[in-house]
């Protein structure tokens, strides 16, 4: 328990910041137009102002009450996000099978226990499954393995 509700202070603060950035960007980079004939910037600017307002409304009361803050589960968060990144990096140059292998390997780092059998088994099984569903079943032109030039 903290003296102040940091969860809502952070959340509201981030919204305030985001909203202000949107409103500023919309009013400087885009044409606002008039209410009768609205330009591309007017609606986003209104949205930004509204968002900033909600951010304030969430943040201010949070200074006057106690609150809790959840701990970030760093390891699973990083591993799961990185596995998506690994897939994005490998799919174009190397093809589907290496991308699946990279994804599964990185994803399994989320756990503290290393399971070599489960890892190899998952890669083989999922590669086969992906081949059957996306290539054979849906007939998508996905390269299975590709050598980068």
């Amino acid at each position: 328990m903290y003296q102040r509700d940091y969860r809502d202070i952070i959340g509201g603060g981030l919204l305030l910041l985001t909203g202000a950035l949107i409103a500023w960007q919309a009013s400087t980079a885009l044409d606002l137009g008039t209410v009768r004939r609205m330009g591309p910037g007017l609606f986003p600017m209104a949205v930004g102002v509204l968002l900033a307002g909600f951010g304030l409304a969430i943040m201010i009361p949070a200074f006057f009450r106690q609150g809790t803050l959840d701990a970030v589960e760093i390891r699973p968060t990083l591993a799961v996000l990185a596995s998506v990144g690994a897939f994005a990096l490998t799919i174009r140059p190397y093809g589907l099978l290496p991308a699946i292998a990279a994804l599964v390997f990185v994803a399994m780092l989320a756990e503290t226990r290393f399971r070599p059998v489960a890892l190899v088994g998952s890669i083989v099984f999922l590669s086969l499954l992906a081949y059957l569903i996306f290539r054979v079943g849906l007939g998508l032109p996905l390269a299975m393995v590709r050598w980068p030039h």
Partner: protein, 507 residues
């Protein structure tokens, strides 16, 4: 006009579409996958639909919607399995079923509970479909006279209701709606073609991909939270044999009332914006407890306590299509995905849908019947298979889910940029969870935002910049008044809630 003549004509047209070999196949695939994902705890209907959404891009619109809808109501059928056998809700809509379903399992009556909830689901779903067939065309014919101002106001009502009624803080829900609308403005401006918030990235010219947003927010963040969940289920196989499923005469007698009341409540709450199957199931349980002669039986394996919520969530699944298909205004995030699917397939949702795309609409509705029948067939005899699914450890499951998300999103446009977007929205989704913001209103705002902007600008052009048009038009004015009442009510409720803990501290 001969209403029933038109209805039978439409039914024939729908059956013709729904019974084609390929549509039957995709209906089966949808309900099967829906059941699978519903059975496995930790993956809700929203994650299921967003995960399998990309596959439907390669199908024709009718087949795509039939499959997506099948996944949607299929999860409600499958979701009770884990609730009853393991005391873990398969999907949030089945959470209440745990209360009496699990005690039934512990008394060795798990089989009866599984069979009876399948019956409840079927009855609830079927009545929901009938209501939809009767009401959706009527509402649509009224809606044909709606103008842009009316649509704008209806969308405001939908968004406000969705963020204030559902779980959590109303102001945080509203903030998420607005954040979603902000994400919706990314891309080319419809009127001038000017790029907005693309930061020079060509990939963003068409806007943020709905698939990437939904998968990141609901799929990836779900997995991050779920990775640490350990432990393999232990299930008594004997309680789920066909023989163990035979209900007693007393079970049947006690079930009929709750099933019908649950269906009624579910049908009603399904159509309201912001209240999906979860709210419906919860309300149905609360009502059963209130009307019961002997309240002490609840929570200890009362069959009424599983029949009411299970019929309610399936009825709500079906009736939630009414506003989505008749008005083009989704009341829940899942329906927003459906709407997104329609838009991506080049179909404009709204009251014209039923006349212009009659075979799609009636084909979809008729496929609901087929899907619900298939679900009964799939659920009862195959229960052994579903139980085995519950035994798969999560560490084998989540890499598979991640793979489906990545390949799915990659194949939509064949570009890796969308996969990076999934990463971004996954991180955002997890952050929102930590800060206790609900991501569902964000999705709703994202889908409705561009439509709202279009209607707002059109209304302004028509009224020559007179903002009063929103209040002066009778439909729009009434809707906005209702919205204002809702806001006042939720502000008051929040105020009362914030006062209560203070009182309890001083006392």
């Amino acid at each position: 006009m001969d209403v029933f003549g038109t209805l039978t004509g439409n039914i024939a047209l729908g059956l013709n579409t729904a019974l084609s070999a390929s549509n039957l196949f995709y209906c089966f695939v949808g309900v099967f996958l829906g059941t699978v994902i519903g059975v496995i705890p930790g993956l809700g209907a929203l994650a299921a639909i967003s995960m399998l959404f990309p596959i439907t891009f390669h199908l024709d619109p009718t087949a795509a919607l039939i499959m997506l809808a099948g996944i949607w109501y299929g999860t409600s059928y499958g979701g009770n399995t884990a609730s009853i056998l393991l005391n873990i809700p398969g999907t949030p809509a089945n959470a209440v079923t745990c209360l009496d379903g699990y005690p039934m399992t512990r008394q060795g009556r798990g089989g009866v509970a599984l069979l009876m909830t399948t019956v409840a689901s079927f009855v609830g779903g079927s009545i929901g479909i009938v209501l939809m067939m009767l009401f959706a065309p009527t509402i649509a014919s009224y809606a044909l006279s709606f103008g842009s101002a009316d649509y704008f106001s209806l969308m405001v009502l939908g968004l406000v209701a969705a963020s204030t009624i559902s779980d959590g803080s109303a102001i945080k829900g509203l903030a998420m709606v607005v954040l979603g609308i902000a994400f919706g403005t990314v891309g080319m401006d419809l009127y001038t073609g000017q790029a907005r918030f693309t930061f020079g990235m060509l990939e963003l010219a068409d806007g943020i991909s709905l698939v990437a947003l939904a998968m990141g927010l609901f799929g990836i963040s779900e997995i991050i939270v779920g990775v640490r969940q350990v432990g393999v289920a232990r299930i008594d196989r004997k309680s789920v044999t066909l023989r163990a499923m035979k209900p007693t005469r007393d079970d049947l007698r006690r079930s009929i009332g709750p099933m019908l009341r649950g269906t009624g409540l579910g049908s009603f709450f399904g159509t309201l914006p912001g209240t999906g199957p979860s709210v419906a199931a919860f309300m149905a349980y609360a009502v059963e407890k209130r009307v019961a002669k002997d309240r002490s039986r609840f929570g200890k394996g009362a069959i009424e306590g599983i029949m009411a919520p299970e019929s309610a969530n399936n009825a709500a699944d079906q009736t939630s299509f009414i506003p989505t298909l008749a008005l083009g205004i989704p009341g829940s995030p899942t329906m927003a995905l459906m709407l997104g699917a329609l838009i991506i397939h080049g179909i404009t949702p709204g009251p014209q849908l039923m006349t212009e795309q009659a075979s799609l609409f009636w084909g979809l509705v008729m496929s609901f019947w087929i899907g619900n029948l298939l679900l009964v067939v799939l659920n009862v005899p195959l229960i052994g298979l579903w139980v085995r699914l519950l035994l798969i450890p999560y560490h084998l499951l989540y890499p598979a889910v991640l793979m489906f998300i990545c390949i799915g999103v990659y194949t939509v446009n064949n570009n890796a940029f969308d996969v990076w977007l999934v990463l971004f929205f996954g991180a955002l989704g997890y952050g929102l969870r930590l800060l206790q913001f609900s991501a569902a209103p964000l999705l709703l705002g994202f889908v409705l935002g561009p439509l709202m902007e279009e209607h707002f600008r059109r209304a302004m052009l028509i009224s020559r910049g007179n903002l009063m048009t929103f209040l002066e038009r009778p439909i729009s004015g009434t809707v906005l008044a209702v919205t204002a009442l809702l806001l006042v009510w939720s502000a008051w409720a929040a105020f009362r809630q914030s006062r209560n803990p203070m009182l309890s501290v001083t006392n």
